[in-house]
């Protein structure tokens, strides 16, 4: 699946959609595909303050347990309630219904986030 142009990407395979001071965060299609069937997602808590690149959650697939690193810093304002009941939504639609949480961004979004084109290069050379 193509990496949408309107998102920013981290080298840890997370995406962020920045709208005003809010960022919606998830993992990329490349990440979900590498992980395999996702059976559990542990998200940060609403109200929690997170730093950019901090480990703030866990994705567990039938193959492995991986950590979630936030591409942005700020306060978590919403988590995707669907993922508790249906973690496979991340497999089906990583950029859509499989979104993970929303952050009220404080400070500038991390400057090391990549464009869709640069992220594409990262995963094709990986």
């Amino acid at each position: 699946m193509a990496n949408p142009e309107n998102l920013l990407y981290s080298k840890d395979h997370e995406w962020a959609k920045i709208e005003g001071d809010t960022a919606t965060v998830g993992i990329t299609d490349y990440a979900q595909n590498s992980l395999g069937d996702i059976v559990y997602v542990e998200l940060p808590r609403v109200g929690q303050t997170i730093a950019p690149h901090a480990s703030i959650g866990v994705v567990e697939s039938v193959k492995a347990v991986s950590e979630l690193f936030s591409p942005v810093g700020g306060e978590v304002v919403e988590i995707n309630p669907l993922l508790e009941k249906d973690p496979a939504a991340v497999n089906r639609d990583a950029f859509g219904e499989g979104w993970m949480y929303r952050v009220k961004v404080s400070g500038d979004p991390a400057p090391d986030l990549l464009s869709a084109a640069d992220y594409e290069k990262l995963v094709t050379t990986a």
Binding site: E42, R45, S55, E60
Partner: protein, 470 residues
């Protein structure tokens, strides 16, 4: 697989710490080296050794005492079928199975243990067991902290003092705050009525309540307290130090516990000084990913046959490394097995009858002891198999217990040891093993001790004639 260090690993490590050889690393400094052989006696022939050790063992005459001890360790009947099965070679390991799936029989036994724990606690899932009731509580507290992101715990003062001590040890390392509730001295309960106000701030990860509590009293939250616990998003940890009570009282899930922990020694495991005992943890589904230790699941293999397997291991150290939810990665396999065989042998009906018998014996004990002038019930709340007894004015629990011990009776536990304001009270336990004759011996001795103690006082403690009956 055992992977020993290679020579180059060893070289790298020695270089890192800055010593030339393994010998140099392990050399005892001259200043503290003994410099002569250890003063250990010579080896003995088997027969001589047996005589020596038997002579030591004969000094231990605890079995010759009549016991009313409880307070976390309970004398219960162990049907011979328990050791007969548990001692089979196929089962005889204290350790959790590694190469686990090869040990299908042991996994099945653990699965059955988990099922019993779920049935008895009323909760959804349980693990393969942990060291003891106290560590089970500490692990549950960590689960609650991880689930809520809060760093404080609110604990009833009527939770077993040893359990609270272990909890504090864990909490210190994790930098968790541990607060205690106000004790209700009249009822012998936790003062749970004050909970709603304390929880309003949503500061506490968990409330820890034990029932029956350390004083033997049924001690569970009422409806309004439960509503406050739910509304504040606090985890209610229910502690059960006497698992036999689960055969007679409502389950922790029924009184609102989200996580239930406790000690299952009462099922098929003897009282032993220092254990080993066996802790259980059960939780509702919400906490499935946080329950520590091993979990056995039932599934089918590639050919569709029933099979048992370790499951949900993603929380464990060998996968999550330092991010594991707990450093528990073993269980009390053999003790849990004994408990499982016990429960299978007595069945639901047998367990209920045995538990009911405990209630009856404790009430007979209470009634007869309080007929001895000067002795009374310390608390008002209903009890399972333990009662706090206040000793006559002018004496102390310690003095009464010392007098009983001279008469070869272990009369119970001096509550003043943990609660200075209760130095006038003894915690006495009766189980299905407690006979009328033992109670008669106890009341006779109590009467003699009390009249001896009163002898030196001007006024008798009671106008009643000192009639001691069993």
């Amino acid at each position: 697989m055992y992977a020993p260090h290679t020579q180059s690993d060893i070289r790298d490590m020695l270089e890192t710490v800055g010593v030339a050889s393994l010998e140099e690393l392990l050399r005892v400094p001259d200043a503290i080296a003994l410099g002569e052989p250890l003063a250990v006696p010579r080896g003995l022939p088997e027969l001589e050794l047996q005589r020596t050790i038997s002579a030591y063992a004969a000094q231990n005459d605890a079995a010759g005492y009549t016991s009313f001890l409880g307070a976390g360790s309970y004398r219960h009947y162990i049907p011979p079928v328990v050791p007969a099965i548990a001692m089979r070679g196929e089962f005889l390991t204290a350790y959790t199975p590694y190469q686990a799936e090869v040990s299908q029989g042991y996994l099945q036994a653990i699965y059955e243990w988990q099922s019993y724990v779920c049935l008895l606690t009323g909760l959804d899932l349980s693990n393969a067991s942990v060291y003891d009731g106290a560590t089970a509580l500490a692990e549950a507290a960590i689960m609650a902290v991880n689930a809520t992101g809060r760093r404080a715990l609110l604990v009833s003062p009527a939770v077993h003092p040893n359990y609270r001590a272990v909890l504090r040890t864990y909490a210190r390392g994790l930098e968790l705050e541990v607060d205690e509730l106000q004790f209700c001295a009249e009822e012998g309960t936790s003062g749970l009525d004050s909970l709603p106000a304390l929880l309003a701030e949503k500061r506490y990860a968990a409330v820890v309540v034990q029932s029956p509590n350390f004083f033997g009293c049924v001690d569970v939250p009422g409806d309004s307290t439960r509503t406050a616990i739910e509304a504040s998003g606090t985890v209610l940890i229910g502690v059960v130090a006497e698992a036999m009570s689960l055969g007679a009282l409502v389950s922790p899930a029924d009184w609102g516990a989200h996580i239930a922990v406790g000690e299952a020694q009462s099922f098929g495991n003897p009282v032993a000084y220092g254990g080993p005992y066996v802790g259980f943890i059960a939780a509702n589904k919400e906490h499935m990913r946080r329950i520590p230790g091993r979990l056995v699941g039932r599934t089918v293999d590639g050919t569709g046959k029933l099979a048992y397997t370790l499951t949900l291991q993603a929380r464990e150290q060998h996968i999550r490394r330092e991010k594991a939810t707990s450093n528990i990665c073993t269980n009390q396999a053999h003790c849990a097995l004994c408990a499982t065989i016990y429960l299978a042998a007595v069945g639901a009906t047998g367990l209920r009858r045995c538990a009911t018998l405990n209630v009856e014996r404790a009430h007979i004990l209470a009634e007869r002891v309080t007929r001895v002038p000067g002795f009374s019930r310390r608390f008002g709340a209903p009890v399972f198999n333990e009662i706090a007894i206040r000793v006559p004015d002018g004496t102390s629990a310690a003095a009464v217990l010392a007098g009983l011990q001279e008469r070869r009776i272990l009369g119970g536990v001096d509550l003043g040891r943990w609660y200075p304001q209760l130095a006038d009270s003894i915690l006495m336990t009766a189980t299905e093993l407690t006979t009328d004759g033992e109670i008669e011996a106890l009341t006779g001795a109590l009467g003699a001790i009390a009249s001896g103690a009163i002898g030196g006082h001007a006024a008798p403690i009671s106008g009643e004639a000192s009639v001691v009956r069993a």
